[in-house]
């Protein structure tokens, strides 16, 4: 009888401790999963956050916001943990000061942007779709350009990030991706280099 009580007792204590530790772990992780935490580093606050301010995901008609982790950290637990482990690389570069000035950040912008684009392409823009679902788009409520582009994009198997780059932050030098949408270089300037 006593043995059984101990067993039940251990089980109950185990359950309670489990809930506390599990909840505590998640709570601690969520502390690192909000805008205020992200912009506690000046690299984020002065570059990407400053660019995000006033753009559609920050400021809009209805006041619905998508903050840093809404787009850059997956919602689903297993993917979230994976992303949080990857973030240790970001801590390393924070310590190394890899992008601690605007100039350093600008020099790395294309590379950093490509990392994000690659991830979004691989996940079929999963984080976008937490809010924007192709199947729930009412094409008739869209403008004539969006209506056509979205349907053609869907048919061609495209994902959000294929077209919607530079929505929340400034674009890097895109001359490699689209050489037709950049400023002409004057031949005299070229030879002067």
């Amino acid at each position: 009888m006593a043995k059984r009580n101990i067993a039940i007792g251990t089980l109950l204590v185990g359950m309670v401790l489990g809930v506390i530790f599990w909840g505590g772990f998640n709570w601690a992780m969520e502390l690192t999963n909000n805008e205020q935490f992200c912009i506690s580093c000046h690299e984020m606050r002065d570059n990407v956050y400053a660019e995000y301010k006033g753009r559609i995901h920050d400021l809009n008609r209805t006041g619905v916001r998508a903050t840093c982790p809404d787009c850059h950290v997956p919602k689903e637990w297993i993917y979230k943990i994976k992303r949080k482990i990857q973030a240790s690389n970001e801590l390393y570069h924070k310590v190394m000061g890899s992008i601690d000035t605007r100039e350093k950040f600008e020099a790395k912008r294309l590379e950093l942007a490509r990392h994000v684009w690659k991830t979004m392409k691989e996940t079929d823009s999963r984080e976008c779709r937490n809010c924007h679902e192709y199947g729930s788009m009412d094409y008739m409520a869209q403008g004539r350009r969006a209506r056509r582009e979205h349907q053609e994009g869907l048919d061609a198997g495209k994902t959000c990030i294929d077209c919607h780059k530079g929505i929340a932050h400034q674009l890097p030098d895109m001359s490699e991706d689209d050489p037709s949408a950049v400023l002409a270089v004057h031949p005299e300037d070229k030879t002067g280099e």
Binding site: I56, R145, I167, D178, S180, H186
Partner: protein, 152 residues
């Protein structure tokens, strides 16, 4: 010394002209676009204008008018690094996006050199091309284009 007298005379002549001109101007009712509000009074806040929804290309009002933008351009950035307008309107992209292509005149530098891309003097689209709002004209005008060179 002689020069200064001449200068004074010239100023006097200008002054007289200005006075005469001023009188004739005063005879015409002048009203600024601001209305009849005194300069130290706050004017009534005008109604907020909204950009028109996406539509078909708008007709030109006169020959060589820069075409108007028949769609919203919220958040479209034109920077030294990238031109959002050209991601649809460039020669490479216009067909795919069913857009109007940029004129070839935009590829010339100010010295007449034809460049491989849009010239800096024509790169900032919004200097000439503008979207439209629901605003009515502030001043009436009776301008009519020459029929023989109007395509609409």
């Amino acid at each position: 010394m002689k020069n200064q007298t001449a200068k004074k005379l010239l100023f006097a002549a200008f002054g007289l002209c200005a006075l005469l001109l001023g009188q004739s101007v005063l005879a015409v009712e002048i009203q600024s676009l601001r209305g009849e509000n005194a300069i130290d009074e706050t004017t009534e806040v005008p109604e907020v204008k909204r950009y028109n929804k996406d539509g078909q290309p708008l007709p030109r009002n006169y020959v060589l008018q820069p075409p108007l933008i028949p769609h919203k351009i919220d958040g479209y950035e034109v920077t030294v690094k990238h031109n959002k307008c050209l991601s649809c309107h460039s020669w490479k992209n216009y067909r795919r996006h069913h857009a109007t292509k940029i004129s070839q005149t935009h590829f010339q530098s100010r010295d007449g050199v034809v460049l491989a891309n849009v010239s800096a003097r024509r790169y900032f689209c919004l200097q000439c091309h503008v979207p439209q709002t629901n605003a009515l004209p502030l001043v009436d005008n009776t301008f009519e284009p020459v029929e023989s060179v109007s395509s609409w």
